[in-house]
Amino acid sequence: MMENSEQVTRREVMETAAEVGVAVSLKRRPYFSRVAVAMLAGLVALGAEARGAGDEGFFRERVEPILRERCYGCHSHASGTMEGMLALDWKSGWEAGGDRGPAIRPGEPDQSLLIQAVRHTHAELKMPEEQLPESDINILVEWVKQGAHDPRTVKPVERAAAAREWWSLRDLLRPRAPLAGGANPVDAFLNARLTAEQLPIADDCDRVTLIRRLTNDLWGLPPTPDEVAEFVADDRPDAVERLIDRLLASPHYGERWARHWFDVIHFADSHGFEHDVFRPHAWRFRDYVIAALNEDISWSRFIREQLAVDVFWPEATDRVPALGFLGAGTYDHSAAVTAPMSFELLDRDDLVTQVMGAFVSTTAHCARCHAHKFDPISQEDYYSVQAVFAGIGKGNIPFDADRTIGQQRQKWQGLRKAAERRDAAVLLAAEWEVATRESIQNLAGEEIWRVLLAETFLSSSGAVLTRQVDESILASGPPPETDTLAITAISPLPRVTAIRVEVLVDDSLPMRGPGRATNGNLHLSEFELRVFRKGAVDAKPLAIRRATADFNQEAWTIEHAIDGNPKTAWGIHPREGESHVAVFELAEPLEVTPEDRLMVVLKQLHGGSHLLGRVRVSLTDSAEGVFALPADAAKALAVPPDERSNELRLALAAAVLGRRADDELARLPAPDLVYAAGPAAVNERGTVRIDMPREVRILRRGDLAQPGDVVGPGALAIWDDLPARFEGLPEQESVRRAALADWLADARNRLTWRSVANRVWHYHFGQGLSNTPSDFGQMGSPPSHPELLDWLACEIRDGDQGLKHLHRLLCASEAYRRSSSVPTQLIQADPENRLLGRGTVRRLDAEAIRDAVLRVSDALDETMTGPAISHFSQKPGAQLTPILDYSTYLWTEPGSRRRAVYGVVWRGIPDPFLETVDLPELGLPAPVRSFSASPLQALSLLNDRFLLQLSSELATQIREQSADDLRLAMRMLIHRVWLRDGTEDEVAELAALANEHGLEAACRLLFNSNEFLFVD
């Protein structure tokens, strides 16, 4: 066990320590060697009493320890941090000094920045924050006074350079498989090691065990008796490979392995925290992962899709749910509202933890408060990754599951944006020439409008209103603060499709109006049209589909006049002194008779006399072209086509094409939604639109009150050939995500490929080659077979990058087939089975227990996709979190027989049964599932409603099939659940139980049997 010697040492240390009742914090070897060095130094020091402050001994014994302990953390190559550009770990460091110049003036302690800083006498520099003991300060002063003799003349090794030698950061080169080990390279590596260690190797398990193992492993389900029989009878030499292929081709594969990924990234269907709000659209991401795994997409594509599918494949609108990855984790809704600064810091921290743990098995989040204590990750690295996510909001993001609709939507959204930006390159392009011309031809002229002849008109504030010759209404007299104008009239048309409101200039109005505010502005808060049928005394406002205006004041657009919110309004600043027009289209054409009365209500509630000065209302029955053309477009229309300037052409094209885009978009079905993160998302706070990334600063001690330098987006600065600062990117959040995805998916990223290879291994064998799948750092577990891991990492990196290739390699290996039922000396030779000389007994995962019960009972509903199924009843809670009751859920409801992966995982209120069988807490990523066996678990397996309900149903089936022959029934039951023939004893014992207490009792027993719950 040479390669494992360190582990053995650690285990021994732990055990020894545990025996004397000490929980040890495992220290690594370098610690012991440091201790040794310190002891040696101490011995030397015994003879150093007489030395003065000017020699090397004094420095080494008295000064350097202080610097090392108190200053190196932020000012050394080894820490990877040099705050203020100052290094104190070699002579040139303090000689050259940092931002403020040399840190020490030899011989002049009072003039030395270093001394001022440690004395806390400098106005700004007070270092370290917790002041050094007087005695330490005196030593430093004495040293400087005596000339600051410093023997450290060699530049220290950069931390990153030293750290690159760590197993997970080393160059990833394909090792040669040992020749003697076996045909499958996996076995070649494993067997070579077993042989070298002279460890015994277990025999193959039997065929039944193998198919059970494989089916549970790849599907998370037990095989049926028929599947077992077929496999056992298959004597073709490649029967195993055929079985593996069949299993991998089934969609059950994706359902099983998606669940693993959800653990790794702590995906759940609710927020967690104080307001544990449900995410009704989270399931889209679940379906995405299942589909992506079933498609066997390459790992690099899997990375890129989840981080930035919107950037890499904008046309693939159906893949947008991949971004659910970014929304997988927790969300502190309460803090988002009341403590936004700390919320953002910690929300991004969670994302950094998730991304870096899941893809590159690093604990980057350990560098939030200080440089990583063990791994080469600086605070700058950490905050660079935070900066990647500094422009995203979490919430529901619209997308089109139907790609053709998605492309339509993108096309028209693109056109609308171009119209808003007046982008000539798009709007005047040949592509849109015909459409523009036709739209212009279709534009209605003045002739479609019929002026409304007011029967009555009334000001709620008693303003003086007079009818003008052009049928407009002019207000005069002292202007009130606010007003509502109501006009009633008989419709001049039997059918009405739109209403036009003209606000007209008049010499009597301030600045000629058209409003009554001192600058001539106006604010139309709400527009309403009501129709009073004959004899009616009340009528509701009619629905308005759309409002347009020839001009909109910034942030005071015409939509505000139909938003039902009296606090928002349409305005015309700074274009006072001109007449303006607004058009309101009805949602449905209105049929009216001369008996009916129309009432137009114009609410002007903003205050400050932002009132309509002179107004005229017209109607139309036209179906086409009824909208308010922007003023410049209207001007263009008045000019003959061949005389229009480019500017006019553009104005006209923007107006008609923008309108066309709006029409087309309105015709498309509503988009689908996924809970994810992106430049804009909708959540309980409304629309969170960030897009332009926020500034991210390095925070000393992770403290918001101690901001340091601004950092841009980036990743871990480890390898020279893989740049870790994403420079020159446009100021747009999505490209940052894409840059990180590129960094992660790069073939030169040594961590990515080792990480995924190990993760796959971990789920197949129950433990990884490294036992810490999301931590390949110094605190993680080094791999048992580093060469094998590298070989596998190269295998996935250099091939099609799909996981299925790895599954085939691993599942078809001899190692995978080894029996777990072995003599005790074989176990004692390698208790933890790190060298895999035998198989391992494993309990079914929480979800797999439910799924297995369903399949054995012939009750599994194989429906895939769709909203998550709730296995609880729900009632409103005191605030946003509802009260869930799992105990009364009847397992006969629609969808209750689907696989557990389709069930709701409520982060803070998980299913109590699943919890007892080790469903991980998903507040943090859970790269490994723990195993526990508690009394409560024993009770939940016995008494959970689900298992009892299915026991009843299985009993009914068996009863029908066995024609009341109890012994036959028991043989059938054992065959179904244990996939083998029962012994005479077993049949007799179970029959006796069933005879006394019913077949149901026997079914319940088998569901609780370890032979069913464990895969051997």
Binding site: A23, F273, T363, S774, V841, S932, A938, L939, N1010
Partner: protein, 477 residues
Amino acid sequence: MFLSPVADGCSRRDVLCQLGAGFGSVVLADLLAGESRAADGRGILGGRTHHPPKVRRVIQLFMNGGASPMDTFDYKPALEKHHGQSLGPKEKPEGFVAPAGAVMKSPFAFAQHGESGRWVSSVFPHQAKIVDELAFLMAMASKTNVHGPASYMMNTGFVLPGFPCLGAWISYALGRINEDLPDFVVLPDPRGLPYNQKANFSAGFLPARHQGTLIDAGKRQPVPFLFAPEDFEFARGAADKATVDLLARMNKRHASRYPDESKLDARLASAELAARMQLSAPEAFDVTQETAATQDAYGLNRSVTADFGRRCLLARRLIERGTRFVQVWSGPQGAVNNWDNHGNIQTELAPIAESVDQPIAALVMDLKQRGLLADTLVVWTTEFGRTPFAQGSLGRDHNGGSFVTWLAGAGIRAGAAYGQSDELGYQAAEGKTYCYDFHATLLHLLGIDHERLTFRTAGIDRRLTDVHGHVVREILA
């Protein structure tokens, strides 16, 4: 095809069987209980402690929502003097729901009580009588003013989700006293779970067996899954017994094919313990077995105190029978019926305070009379305090700046107080303590050095106290 499991090596199970222990034996269960010492029934410390413990069991009373210090235990005459003045922060601090209003005096009268002369407001007349039994941390602080993170902090030591709570750490470290009962029991307010839902009682990254067992004290069968629902006759009574017995035989037969498989052994042992829990738990949870006098003392005869009183009494019964850690919650999450008194201190704090006051005093005195206080610790906690400034005109906002915790029982210097808030009670002024110090002190009393109780996960040897924590010796006997 199989290698014969009956081989010349002697399996761990064989060895233990020769020692004469049956599967029900606690010792055997301990040794076989799982993958590592962490899954051991005796806890990671192997049944030992770092130093001799003063405390073996703990009852934690958690006032959910942020109990106001200056209206309960932290008397601030300056509030009267400055009442109505604008002395608060100009900008809304992180986590405040609204900008700070004017200074607001307490609507309740304060008086000094006991030999210690501790000031207590009129909302706690019963606790006022036992102040000489209590030791106060008068200047605890939180790093956040938001319920979720603050509740995490008081329960797990971190403002983020995913970390094990105090009870889980204790279970992990020390294991069980009595195998027949859950070792970490949570008694939530029947009106609803606290902020963070069940994540406050989670085992986080520790094995799931250490998470709190949620007990619905109002239910006839409070322990979840203890017995099958009544509509499944075949899983109850004699049928259940016969099934479980045969199951044990069959599982043992199965385990014999895997001589050193600890997971199978752990299942066997846990089934045996489950059967014992079925026998013990109904009795333990039956408060009607208490005398009428005891029930009245806890307030079971008054509607305002009946629920919290019943749960306090249940806590005592569990502790008495060997449950290690019981957490009793007052108040669900939400805007009403808890300690989050934003709207009106007088009308919102008074009733919630009344609902707990008599039961708490009764619990402490009952434990004392029964001699249980000799190795039991009772702690009164909340997630943060409240502002001395009004929210609206009558309520108080969240304030992590300073709040009060008290401890009573084994190892505690009764009548002591440590720390002091500033003149207004807004920030800790002297002797500031965080959850780290509180947790370190609790672990210390239990015989655990908080710096040596660790669990490695995601690259770090995690502790309950993160990288902080000092034992507050000033309040220790």
